[in-house]
């Protein structure tokens, strides 16, 4: 596809080395072959990765190829990338899951196994219930759960997933943490299950609820960030409703530890350019995430800060394994 590479192949094959001055610097420069971006989750994570990879490929001059390695709350992909050669050709589309996967015991190594490249986006989980159940706020839900004989069935994305963590923190703050039964759904099925009435509530991403909220079939009771979400402007934050929960998921890029700084720099610049592209801004609107670019150094600090935060939170919720 890339004429440059093709031409170089032909030149090399014919043994014509008359143009070493053109060919050699190109070989030494990063990247001289496609960069592989490991994607840990489906759904929005995958869609953002697709757009980001396309835009980054444009500025890097070599394609960035997203490869899906889902499973184990990110454990599969992290283990895979951590094991690859630190040359910048294998990067991971990471998230807070690096912190949670370590502390819940899914992976044996923590964030320090990776060199941060850049933070790219952030998303805020939201709690939704079926419309018409008479629950308009977190307080209504709390009152109902306290009177309920059994447990509240809450749809999440899998045991130890970020959505379960957020649910646990939120319900714990509401004082109903012990009356919750978690139901795992893959493939973004939780809103449908909510509609069918098989579960009582779900903690998922705003983009998944959007259409149902517009059609009046689901109500979003709370979002868990500091600010409201642009996609669902009616939904109040948990803090507004008097529960101190502020958890946002960031997503960014990281490479195996030991990747040369100039390579990290090149990737960081490509990521920054991508986030400033109108196509990426459009995708942010339609997919329902916020662009929050931070450079490698700031991103590294953020991850370290989060690691301490999640260690404490998971310990408090009794989910911490290591």
């Amino acid at each position: 596809m890339t004429p440059k590479r093709t031409i170089r192949a032909l030149v090399a094959a014919a043994g014509l080395l008359a143009t070493p001055l053109v060919a050699l610097p190109a070989l030494a420069q990063f990247p001289d072959k496609p960069v592989e971006m490991t994607v840990l989750f489906g759904g929005t994570a995958n869609s953002i990765a697709q757009v980001l990879a396309t835009e980054m490929g444009k500025s890097l001059g070599k394609p960035v190829v997203p490869v899906s390695r889902p499973g184990g709350g990110g454990a599969v992909g992290y283990s895979y990338v951590a094991d690859t050669r630190p040359d910048g050709y294998n990067i991971v589309w990471n998230s807070n899951s690096i912190n949670t996967a370590y502390h819940t015991g899914k992976i044996a190594f923590d964030y320090q196994k990776f060199a941060p490249i850049a933070m790219v986006s952030s998303e805020v989980p939201a709690l939704a219930v079926k419309a018409g159940r008479g629950w308009a706020s977190l307080d209504d839900l709390k009152a109902a759960v306290e009177k309920m004989p059994g447990k509240l069935k809450v749809g999440i994305s899998g045991k130890g997933s970020f959505t379960q963590l957020v649910s646990a923190a939120l319900f714990d703050a509401m004082g109903i943490g012990d009356k919750i039964a978690y139901i795992s759904y893959g493939d973004g099925k939780a809103p449908v299950e909510l509609m069918a009435g098989r579960i009582d509530a779900a903690v998922q991403w705003p983009g998944q609820y959007k259409s149902y909220v517009d059609s009046g079939q689901l109500d979003v009771l709370a979002v868990t960030g500091k600010k409201r979400v642009a996609l669902l402007p009616e939904a109040k934050t948990a803090i507004e409703q008097g529960y101190d929960v502020d958890i946002t998921m960031w997503r960014g890029l990281a490479a195996p530890k030991g990747t040369p700084p100039e390579v990290v720099k090149a990737l960081q610049e490509a990521a920054q350019k991508a986030t400033e592209d109108p196509a990426f801004e459009k995708a942010a609107k339609t997919l329902g995430f916020e662009i929050s670019y931070e450079d490698s150094a700031a991103f590294g600090k953020e991850i370290a800060k989060d690691d301490a935060f999640y260690a404490k939170l998971l310990g408090h919720l009794g989910l911490k394994q290591q």
Partner: protein, 502 residues
Amino acid sequence: MDHFLTALQMALTPYAIGAVGLGTIIGLIFGSIPGLTFTVALALALPVTFGMDTVPAIALLLGTYIGGMTGGSVSAILLGIPGTPSAAATVLDGYPMTKQGRASIALGTAVIVSTVGGIFSLIVMIVSVNLVSKVAIDFGPAEIFALVLFGMSTICGLSSGSLMKGLIAGVLGLLIMTVGIDKIDGDNRMTFGSVNLLQGVNLLVAMIGLFAVPFIIDTFLQHRHGGLEAPATGSLKANLPSFGLMWRNAWLMARCAAIGTGIGAIPGTGGAIAAFLAYSHARRFSKTPERFGRGAIEGVIAPETANNAVTGGTLIPLLSLGVPGDPATAIVLAGLMIHGITPGPALFMTSETTVYAIYIAVVVAYVFILVFQLLGIRLFVYVLKIPQQLLAVIILVLCVIGAYTVRNSAFDVYSMGVIGVLAWGLVRAGIPITPVILGMVLGPTMESEYRTAMQLSGGHLNIFYTSPVAMFFLGLSALVVLMQATTSLRERASKRLESKNA
């Protein structure tokens, strides 16, 4: 009506039609080449659509999806290597037809019934999307588990030789797919500390190994010892199936199209289960079931109608609920979302025009498929003229490319080789391969739906017997197994009688 006219204008621009055509060709190529799968084609096409307008972008993706689903039958029929898991059932009778010199009839039939199935499901979707999506919502974990179990029970109909061997093969398929990180609890299962095994065995990689590698081994074996027959050049007349043949099977096509649409509408099931259910349905209700597996045209009609009817079926939960039915539609979903079309109940209010344009694009895609494939048959059959040993080398290269591109991993190439060698061993031991692929396709869904159902009910089995739908499918599965067991017992008894008399 205004919406419809606007949609016509949007979907019938030369640009949009060109996008559908391009997508269809890409899908056909990836679907029909053994080793390459259209899920990979969709993943490659997705970034291309980012810079396009909404309707051509969706049209390109849908064209690829539908083209790939149809193209999967080509290598299934010609070489006995399915191009996609959905075409695995087509091998059962399509490949024997090729060996009898009826390749072009099988191919022509596959294209025509695919189109019939696809258009049928599209009409169902247009007419009853609201009704069908309401029914689809009623399929919770318990119901889907029961349905998938029913799908597993078709193993009984696939293993004509021995029920026992078929079941062993099915269990092997189920077993392989549990390797890797558990999707629900995140525990490592049978990974032996290997990072590569954490990812689990990829279905597409295993499929390539199961069907293509034994073909390569056998060809090498026979070539090395001079036992290779000349390719059947006498059978290269591009005969097309007669109108009468199609007409006689119209009722079968209608039933299989209904099966495909219904299965497709239920998220988490997909083309392979529909194709196998349709195949076993056709066999069970045939007056001459003994012809199946030996080149019965009905054995091509049933799975091909059903797997293409799935394309329309999956659009129902995709558009009306935002739930993708399989990895391929998950990519279509990403394409929709990125273009600002958020699937879900509100889609039909907010983007009615786009929805109509999607329908029109599907119709256009089938027009392209009919034209390309019917013209292509003349070329496809020339594959049979390639000397077998050269063909085997080419297929080897294609399979390695295919296995590698699924996840960009050389480990997948190694697993394809190892699985292929084991598959060859199974074939030689008289254990059929098709149930293995069935177990692999259905195993993960079956397990995760059962476990989610148990989470929902708190461990009570009443989630199954309080659901009429679940009980219906569980009952059907039991019925199929019972019928098969009695038939094989009776056959055994009559054989014993014969051997005593002899």
